[in-house]
């Protein structure tokens, strides 16, 4: 952690993440109003004393809606990424450890899946699943799997030939023991770094799906959906689109910066 905080990237990332995670953990409780309650006399207003960030087209308080949407946004990003990481790591480790034919077949399939641009892939899957937060989460997780699998595989491959692994094999340890005790702990570094950075992409894709109407559905307080609903009133009250947009950007940047700092911390030889 010390090394992370030593770079300006790291500091910025930690600050942003702290803000975002605080909102995610405590948001719904510290929100001043019910996020779904209409204040029909005060619609489409900018920031004011009573509504610090203004109101939307139904007269709902924007600050409360942002705070209310924080946990689901962050959870979406982490959930989708975890899904991709778990599935991808399993597949990648299998490919890396097994080698030979298995490895070859798995790589071909992964290449095929990677041949499709990520957003397009996610779009097709989520259309197939019918739209909705859970479906979007699954779609993003599935779309992340091939990329994570490749990272896991190359991490495994680079560890495979290290001395401690060779020593363990010479000792006669079982395959699974080696994987669990020697390979995984050392390969986990790059995986975690990649995962942290991917959380920011997951959040952005989730917001995009919400924006396109394929992710979270009204009256959810998902931030991408908030932008999409506010677009019609964009020229009457631009705060409706600016505020959720900034929230998304802050969150994505926080995870991005933190992930970069993590990468630097793990591998001090890399200079940026």
């Amino acid at each position: 952690m010390g090394r992370i905080l030593s770079t300006s990237n790291g500091v910025a990332g930690v600050i942003l993440l702290t803000i975002v995670l605080t909102a995610a953990l405590f948001g719904p409780w510290i929100a001043p109003y019910d996020p779904q309650l209409f204040h029909s006399q005060a619609r489409l207003q900018g920031p004011s004393a009573t509504h610090w960030l203004g109101t939307d087209q139904f007269g709902r308080d924007l600050l409360s809606r942002i705070l209310n949407g924080a946990p689901s946004t962050v959870l979406f990003g982490m959930g989708a990424t975890s899904l991709g990481v778990c599935a991808g790591t399993v597949i990648g480790v299998i490919a890396g450890v097994a080698g030979g034919r298995t490895d070859g077949v798995i790589m071909r399939i992964l290449d095929g899946m990677l041949a499709m641009p990520e957003l397009l892939f996610t779009l097709l899957i989520v259309t197939f699943l019918g739209g909705g937060t859970l479906q979007a989460l699954l779609a993003v997780g599935v779309a992340f799997t091939p990329g994570m699998a490749r990272i896991a595989r190359s991490a495994v491959l680079s560890v495979r030939t290290r001395e401690y692994v060779l020593a363990a094999r010479a000792r006669g340890e079982s395959r699974s023991w080696i994987v669990l005790r020697e390979v995984l702990p050392n390969a986990i570094g790059p995986i975690i770094v990649e995962a942290t950075i991917r959380v920011s992409f997951a959040i952005m894709i989730g917001a995009t799906l919400g924006f396109l109407g394929l992710g979270a559905q009204p009256p959810s307080t998902e931030w991408g959906l908030m932008v999409s609903e506010a677009r019609q009133f964009m020229f009457r009250n631009p705060w409706g689109v600016i505020i959720p947009g900034i929230a998304i950007a802050m969150t994505a940047m926080g995870f991005n910066l933190f992930g970069d700092a993590l990468r630097d911390a793990f591998d001090p030889k890399r200079s940026l």
Binding site: L123, F235, I242, I248
Partner: protein, 316 residues
């Protein structure tokens, strides 16, 4: 770089295409509703629906529909759009050209701007320029396209401040100037993330090269700084930049979907969303095919270019 490698890569592209078409066909047919239902909407009595399904050939068994389509593609006939009643080739073709204009302009603008930007940041390492460009690239990658697009619209296309048109399209063949004003904001949106990626990559690569022994030797030899940069550093830093550009083609292909939707640009992205909503299978198939091929080919081309630029890379 030999011929057999090239051929193997091209075959791989064909295989990918085949897999993609089967997958898309399967997915779309599992979706609830079909093109006939979408055409009739809430006017769909059971009778009308059945009649239209017969007319569109949707009542045939799935395998028959698929092979019918494949045999058409092989002959160069992409079929008829179910929703629009026009040949798919025509519909997708004109959309493709419009998207290529957008993507091409974005790539060109980005390359012209971000390579010098990244180089500048590397040269002026540790200064305000460097930090500024660093911040810019982080913010750029953290903003989803729809946020950037909306912010640009609020800033530059609102009725109070109509510097640019708020979306839409003008034919570049008819009025290139007008076309450019319509293209300005979408290109800026797409370009922002690209610029962030590429300038970052150029900066990082150039930094490494600048501090390498090779450059130190050139400096010791007494070569001017300008010579060091132009003749020795830049060419060697380009390979990763090209790699990033090719990765970004993938991002571009996804990004145009959202950008075209917001700016009402009549390209492949908009058409795909429309086709998905209306279950227009022949159009969906054609578009995913085109996108997959473009992506695969661009990967291939960038691999070739990298090999040319960086003699250390060998393919067998």
């Amino acid at each position: 770089m030999n011929l057999s490698y090239l051929i193997r890569r091209l075959v791989a592209v064909l295989v990918v295409m085949a897999i993609v078409t089967v997958a898309v066909f399967a997915i779309t047919n599992v979706l609830p509703g079909n093109a006939a239902l979408m055409i009739l909407g809430e006017n769909a009595t059971a009778q009308n629906l059945a009649a239209l399904e017969r007319q569109l050939g949707l009542d045939r068994p799935l395998l028959v529909q698929y092979f019918d389509w494949v045999s058409g593609v092989v002959r160069g006939d992409l079929g008829m759009s179910l929703r629009l009643g026009l040949p798919v080739a025509e519909v997708v073709g004109s959309a493709f050209i419009n998207s290529m204009w957008l993507a091409g302009l974005a790539l060109a603008a980005v390359t012209v701007i971000s390579i010098p930007l990244g180089a500048l940041a590397a040269i002026k390492r540790g200064t305000v320029y460097d930090t500024g460009i660093g911040v810019f690239s982080y913010v750029g990658t953290a903003l989803p396209e729809f946020v950037t697009a909306t912010l640009l619209l609020v800033l530059f296309a609102s009725p109070a401040n109509p510097i640019f048109p708020a979306g839409g399209f003008a034919d570049p063949m008819e009025d290139f100037g007008l076309f450019l004003t319509h293209a300005a904001l979408p290109v800026a949106t797409l370009g922002l993330v690209l610029m962030a990626h590429i300038s970052r990559q150029v900066r990082s690569e150039m930094s490494e090269v600048l501090s390498s022994d090779y450059v130190r030797a050139a400096r010791i030899k007494g070569l001017s700084e300008r010579r060091v940069i132009w003749r020795h550093t830049l060419p060697n830093s380009m390979a990763p930049a090209v790699a990033v550009i090719s990765l970004d083609i993938g991002y571009l292909l996804g990004g145009i979907i959202v950008v075209e939707e917001i700016f009402a640009w009549p390209g492949l992205g908009r058409l795909l969303i429309y086709a998905l909503q209306n279950r227009d299978l022949p159009v969906i198939q054609a578009i995913t095919l085109v996108l997959a091929v473009v992506y695969a080919l661009s990967n291939l081309i960038s691999d070739l270019v990298i090999a040319k630029l960086d003699p250390r890379v060998r393919y067998g």
